[in-house]
């Protein structure tokens, strides 16, 4: 039924633009191209973080190994955490935000296309700033959580922590800018008839995530500002000699840090909620409850931060409150898992690679959720916190949850992004390798943790009963690494050689599948007028959605001069032919981002007594930033 898009266009990364070449990427303001940039960059950092994990696990393969030194190990585990959280999973989610949200809500672009480009460039520069030092053995070594006072000048006198504190601050700018953009996009750019309760679940979960971002990043921004002030300007926020409280950093960090967990997991939940209905041939079970539980998880996420700190001695009352709040979160999370299973129940399940990853998420995240409840109980947590049991827990959540969901999302949306399928056979190798590998890696950690092995140790003594578990974990990591190579090969190869996919290769029901693959630069030649949650299924297989309230009256009255009823767009034009104004390409966001990064990169020189260099970079960067902003804001968008 679906007409296949012009094959000459399919598979080319530049398919949705008139221009080609490097400049077209540097100056792009197209949300799909920016999404693609995010995807490539984040996958690169994912490999970097994975490589760090491989070295870490090699060092821990046997007791008292000397594969790397203590300091190198500390740099590696710090960078592994920082990279995976800030440079891999968050930007992988951002890749989907960018690529998908406008398509799913029937918009031609995001609210602020140039701000979007700015977010990406800041992310790229911040990521480089954070990552490059490891090549020179001066990478951050204070843990991804960077607890002060360890990260203060007194205990970390080198430049290592400078890269971390500045890098994170800069990445925060990127995340915040993107979040304002997507909040506005989702509130204000929805196609006619796309009410909030008709939005695809990925968009919904992303919407929640954007609020988590704008409300969770300010506390860590403040904590990082204090650390920057301490390290470069001699303030005493974390100076114990001046009477500082070591808990200040921890609280500010975890006020951010816990919502951050949901920032990492909710987009994957959203992706899975798109994949499961498609391959079960059924709408999502209990859509409303799925929305509310997502909002609940996000909201409660702000009231549980101190469960990361049960060992700091907050007192019985605080422990009780945070413990109860934490347990509450298990309820909406459990609801989501049951609803996913119910979505598949009585369906016709097709086991594509994407679907396998989605099912794996349900199975694996459940394990992470159960161990999560186990340390929501403070007395029990005192035996678990800072042991490998916790490492097992959050890897089941972040690898078994976020990464599984995102990988599923990549297999699912690859045809939309490139016009070509990823290879299913290689994908199966990837999936099974990853699935077995992750269980082999992380399941034994439950045991090594409960049998007393602390976290963040670069070596452990022989005869402690941990040898077998560690050996298994290491082999598991190698298995994941090998299967990731299958993925990389598949990903790179399928871009140009994969089987050509039509506009709706999987038979999905949401708007993004009603336009050609890859989508043209304007997305929708005509704004679609939406009258249900699965407009494409309404069109092709009305029986599938007959049970959902369509509120036809609504669809009749909202009829907008701008829109036409949802239909499949099969032909490809240029925006010019259609007279659709598109944002002009511009490098001003990049210029501004370089200014921001330059401004911050002057700071480390202050500590090395290179005042002139520091001032030159900081003032020069600030001028670039302000000049770039003025140039950007005073030039027309389209």
């Amino acid at each position: 039924m679906a007409t296949i898009a012009a094959p000459t266009q399919a598979g080319k990364p530049d398919a949705y633009s008139n221009t080609t070449g490097i400049w077209s990427w540097i100056a792009t303001t197209d949300h799909k191209r920016i999404g693609t940039l995010y995807l490539w960059t984040a996958l690169f950092f994912f490999l970097v973080g994975g490589l760090e994990a491989v070295i870490i696990r090699t060092q821990l393969m046997r007791p008292n190994m000397g594969f790397v030194s203590a300091d190198t190990y500390n740099q590696l585990f710090t960078m592994h955490g920082t990279t995976m959280v800030f440079l891999a999973i968050m930007p992988l989610s951002a890749a989907f935000f960018n690529f998908l949200i406008p398509l799913q809500i029937g918009a031609r672009d995001v609210a602020f296309p140039r701000l979007n480009a700015f977010s990406y460039w800041v992310y790229l520069l911040g990521g480089i700033f954070l990552t490059v030092p490891i090549l020179f053995h001066v990478a951050p070594n204070g843990g991804w959580f960077g607890y002060a006072p360890l990260t203060s000048n007194q205990f970390s006198p080198g430049n290592n922590i400078d890269f971390w504190v500045i890098g994170l601050q800069v990445l925060g700018v990127s995340s915040l800018a993107a979040a304002f953009n997507f909040i506005t996009t989702i509130i204000n750019m929805r196609a006619p008839g796309m009410t909030l309760m008709r939005m695809p679940m990925f968009t919904w979960m992303s919407f929640v995530v954007q609020f988590l971002l704008i409300l969770a990043f300010p506390p860590i921004t403040v904590a990082l500002v204090f650390l920057i002030m301490d390290r470069f300007f001699g303030t005493t926020f974390y100076a114990i000699a001046a009477g500082a409280d070591p808990l200040l950093w921890q609280h500010l960090f975890w006020v951010f840090g816990h919502p951050e967990v949901y920032i990492l997991i909710l987009p994957a939940f959203g992706l899975v909620s798109e994949i499961l209905p498609t391959f079960s041939k059924k709408p999502l079970f209990g859509y409303n409850v799925m929305v509310y539980s997502g909002i609940m998880i996000g909201f409660l996420g702000f009231g549980v931060w101190a469960h990361h700190m049960f060992a700091v001695g907050m007192g019985a009352v605080a422990d009780t409150i945070f413990s109860m709040m934490t347990m509450l979160i298990a309820i909406p999370t459990g609801v989501k898992i049951f609803n996913w299973i119910a979505t598949m129940w009585a369906g016709e399940i097709r086991f594509t690679v994407a679907m396998k990853f989605a099912i794996a998420l349900i199975g694996m995240f459940t394990i992470g959720g159960i161990s999560g409840v186990m340390h929501s109980s403070p007395p029990a947590d005192l035996q678990q916190t800072d042991t490998y049991f916790i490492v097992a827990h959050f890897h089941y959540v972040l690898f078994g949850g976020s990464i599984m969901g995102i990988l599923g999302g990549i297999y699912f949306y690859f045809p939309k992004m490139t016009g070509r399928f990823m290879d299913e056979r290689l994908g199966n190798w990837h999936f099974w390798g990853t699935f077995v590998g992750m269980n082999l890696t992380f399941f034994p950690m439950h045991f090594s943790g409960l049998y007393g092995m602390p976290r963040r140790v670069y070596r452990y003594d022989a005869g402690q009963g941990w040898d077998l578990f560690n050996l298994m974990s290491t082999y598991g990591t190698y298995l994941i690494a090998v299967s990731t190579l299958f993925f990389v090969w598949n990903f790179v190869r399928s871009r140009t050689r994969g089987a050509v996919a039509g506009s709706d290769p999987w038979g999905a029901g949401t708007l993004e599948w009603s336009i050609p693959s890859p989508p043209p630069e304007y997305n929708f030649a005509q704004l679609p007028e939406v009258s249900s949650r699965y407009p494409l299924w309404d069109l092709k297989d009305p029986a599938k959605t007959a049970g959902i309230d369509h509120s036809h009256a609504d669809a009749m009255t909202i009829t907008d001069a701008h829109a036409v009823p949802v239909h499949e767009e099969t032909e490809r034009f240029t925006a010019k032919e259609l007279g659709i104004p598109m944002p002009l390409p511009t490098a001003k966001p990049l210029f501004t981002a370089v200014g921001l990064m330059t401004m911050f990169s002057g700071l480390p020189f202050l500590r090395n007594d290179m005042f002139a260099v520091a001032m030159t970079l900081t003032i020069g960067g600030a001028c670039m930033l302000i000049g770039g902003l003025y140039a950007w804001l005073t030039s027309p968008l389209e």
């Binding site: 509130i187 409300l215 702000f302 101190a306 605080a318």
Partner: protein, 104 residues
């Protein structure tokens, strides 16, 4: 629809004279706050801090409601701002308790 919204907001906005009245009210509250600060008997009173907080909350509310037009504008803005504000106040208060600034 959008035109209606815009029209509605324009008709309900206060005028220059009302803005002036609001400015005077704000100044008077500030004057009372500072005055109270210089009366030792008042400072010693257990009601001093709560009274100051209430007065500053009042000023805060007046500026946000009238000068920032949140009273007259689209309810979306009210939702965005107050939700964040409430969360910020709750987080701040929780931190105060956790660090023993307030005691249970």
């Amino acid at each position: 629809m959008s035109d209606d919204a815009k029209h509605a907001t324009e008709t309900h906005h206060p005028t220059g004279n009302q803005y002036l009245k609001i400015a005077i009210i704000l100044t008077v509250i500030t004057a009372i706050e500072v005055w109270a600060y210089y009366i030792p008997a008042l400072v010693a009173s257990p009601l001093f801090n709560p009274a100051l907080i209430i007065m500053s909350a009042l000023k805060f509310a007046i500026v946000v409601l009238y000068y920032m037009h949140i009273k007259f504008d689209h309810s979306l803005f009210r939702l965005l701002f107050t939700a964040s504000l409430i969360l910020a106040m709750c987080t701040g208060t929780a931190l105060m308790f956790l660090f023993g600034v307030f005691k249970l």
